[in-house]
């Protein structure tokens, strides 16, 4: 599906003396099957923005479109199934006595029969490499394991777009690698992924397109090489290294991902 946000504005506590305009007219689209990276510092409006993608927050003005149709006309439950939203620190919402029960919560809410629920639980736990945890209590797991289970709980709905808000915060490098691998796997199966992060290196590794948010506005949107090479101030280390060497001095293109950059540098050293 294609998810489009059109000129979204969001004002918290409108009319009150402490009103805050968190989004000032944001337009962007999540194309079918792509990985869209949303970058931005704290207070840029990232988390407010993603809550509009499944209408957990209603925009003060602007439209959310699902395949061209107004998302507000869809049933809320239908919209939330199709656009799976994983909040920051999603493990804070684990509640069931066992991991399997917790992951089964969302598919049960969809009214699926028990066989199908079980199939989905197994499948999404397997995708996250957590099927061995299924009979454990979610409260007895490590932070990284809890994170996986919480993400599986949203994946079990079978969303067409998966929105991940800072999914790697507080995880160790190995767990972060696993997470990026999951995003690639989902990408290969045709699920769109929105990866929200303040970590440019992480986003650069998996995103097909990048959107940079600043003070509630879209500062830049486009392909990673385009966005990063025109805005080196928030580019990942790879791009900054290439820029420091003098991008024009060599014709290795505009590598962004680590292995691309490595290859380009190797070529440079040989030549």
């Amino acid at each position: 599906m294609r998810l489009e946000l059109r000129d979204i504005r969001h004002i918290y506590s409108p009319g009150a003396p402490f009103e805050i305009e968190a989004l000032r007219g944001v337009s962007l689209a999540v194309e079918p099957g792509e990985v869209l990276g949303i970058l931005g510092g704290t207070g840029s409006g990232k988390s407010t923005l993603v809550q509009h993608m499944n209408l957990l927050l209603e925009p003060t003005s602007g439209d959310v479109l699902v395949d061209g149709a107004d998302a507000a006309t869809l049933k809320k439950s239908e919209l939330r199934r199709r656009v799976g939203l994983v909040f920051q620190f999603p493990e804070a919402a684990l509640f069931a006595p066992t991991v399997a029960e917790d992951v089964a919560f969302a598919p049960r809410r969809l009214g699926l029969d028990e066989d199908e629920v079980e199939r989905r639980v197994t499948e999404s736990l397997k995708l996250l490499g957590a099927e061995h945890l299924k009979d454990r209590s979610p409260f007895a797991l490590s932070g990284g394991e809890q994170r996986r289970v919480a993400i599986a709980g949203v994946l079990a709905m079978g969303p067409e777009v998966l929105v991940l808000d800072e999914p790697a915060s507080g995880l160790d490098p190995a767990a972060r690698e696993d997470l990026l691998r999951l995003i690639r796997t989902l990408h290969n199966t045709g699920t769109s992924v929105v990866l929200v992060s303040h970590d440019t290196d992480e986003v650069a590794e998996v995103a097909d397109r990048i959107c940079v948010l600043e003070k509630g506005e879209v500062r830049a949107i486009g392909s990673p090489s385009e966005v990063f090479y025109t805005n080196p101030e928030f580019a990942p280390a790879t791009v900054q290294a290439v820029a420091a060497l003098g991008e024009a001095a060599w014709n290795a293109g505009r590598p962004v991902r680590f292995d691309e950059t490595l290859r380009a540098l190797a070529q440079l050293m040989e030549g």
Binding site: K76, R80, A92, A93, L94, F95, F105, V154
Partner: protein, 261 residues
């Protein structure tokens, strides 16, 4: 941002600058005294005083009333029970098994007004007194009981921590509710039983989170060398000035007058 019951409203007013001990005592007097007031004129006098105090507190009246909203349900329920189940005085109205008697009506309305005034006084206390000042004041007032091994400092500390965490828990509740809504939870459909059941996915993580927070807080306090009330000094010393005594005396007089009316 929603102001909740018991939250401090930081503006400048004469009430804000009063000694917390005077305010706590005055509130306690009011709460006890209200049950001695048993006439329309007396209740009206107390109500007028409370309203005047709200005006003097510089808390916008609408904001103040909004913080009372959670209590409204309890008040309405109590009043209804009194009116419907008290069989005192002449019958005003009868419909099947429902009977409304004059005595019950009077009792119900009096009780409702008393509860409202009581809650207003308590809300006024917390709105005009910073949590820290409140717990300091309470500790001072309770300190004579230390001789009887009553843990005055600890009780005051527990109270101020509880107050401090009300907004935090509210925020947490909102976050968890949203996370479960994203997983298809619906808190508005079905009968009362299924609605209660729908809150389980919120209450469990909230409780688990509260325990974790308490652990974290205890560790943070210990790592900063906190070891209870013994020999602790204060950055802000409380001073009981003549105006505090006057405020307290006026409260006592108003209540005595209201009780006699």
């Amino acid at each position: 941002m929603n102001r909740s019951f018991g939250q401090f409203y930081p503006v400048a007013s004469a009430l804000h600058t009063l000694d917390p001990r005077a305010k706590i005592l005055a509130t306690a007097l009011l709460v006890l005294g209200l049950f001695l007031v048993d006439s329309v004129a007396g209740l009206a006098l107390v109500a007028a005083t409370v309203m005047a105090l709200v005006a003097a507190s510089h808390v916008p009246p609408v904001t103040f009333l909004r913080t009372l909203r959670p209590v409204a349900f309890i008040v309405v329920l109590t009043v209804l029970f009194q009116i419907l189940f008290s069989r005192e005085g002449e019958t005003l109205f009868a419909w099947g098994i429902l009977e409304v008697h004059a005595g019950g009506l009077r009792l119900g309305l009096f009780l409702g007004i008393r509860i409202l005034l009581l809650v207003s006084a308590a809300a006024l206390l917390t709105a005009t007194t910073a949590p820290l000042a409140l717990s300091d004041g309470l500790e001072d007032l309770l300190s004579p009981l230390k001789k009887l091994r009553f843990p005055a400092h600890e009780v005051a500390m527990m109270m101020s921590i509880a107050l401090r965490f009300i907004p935090t828990l509210q925020e947490e509740t909102q976050k968890i509710t949203k996370a479960q809504a994203a997983r298809g939870a619906d808190f508005s459909e079905g009968g009362p039983l299924s609605r209660v059941r729908a809150t389980i996915p919120i209450l469990i993580p909230l409780t688990v989170g509260a325990f974790r927070r308490a652990d974290d807080l205890a560790e943070a306090m210990e790592s900063r060398g906190y070891r209870g009330g013994e020999g602790r000094t204060r950055y802000r010393e409380l001073r009981f000035r003549p105006r505090d005594a006057i405020a307290l005396a006026v409260t006592a007089l108003v209540l005595a007058g209201a009780a006699l009316l």
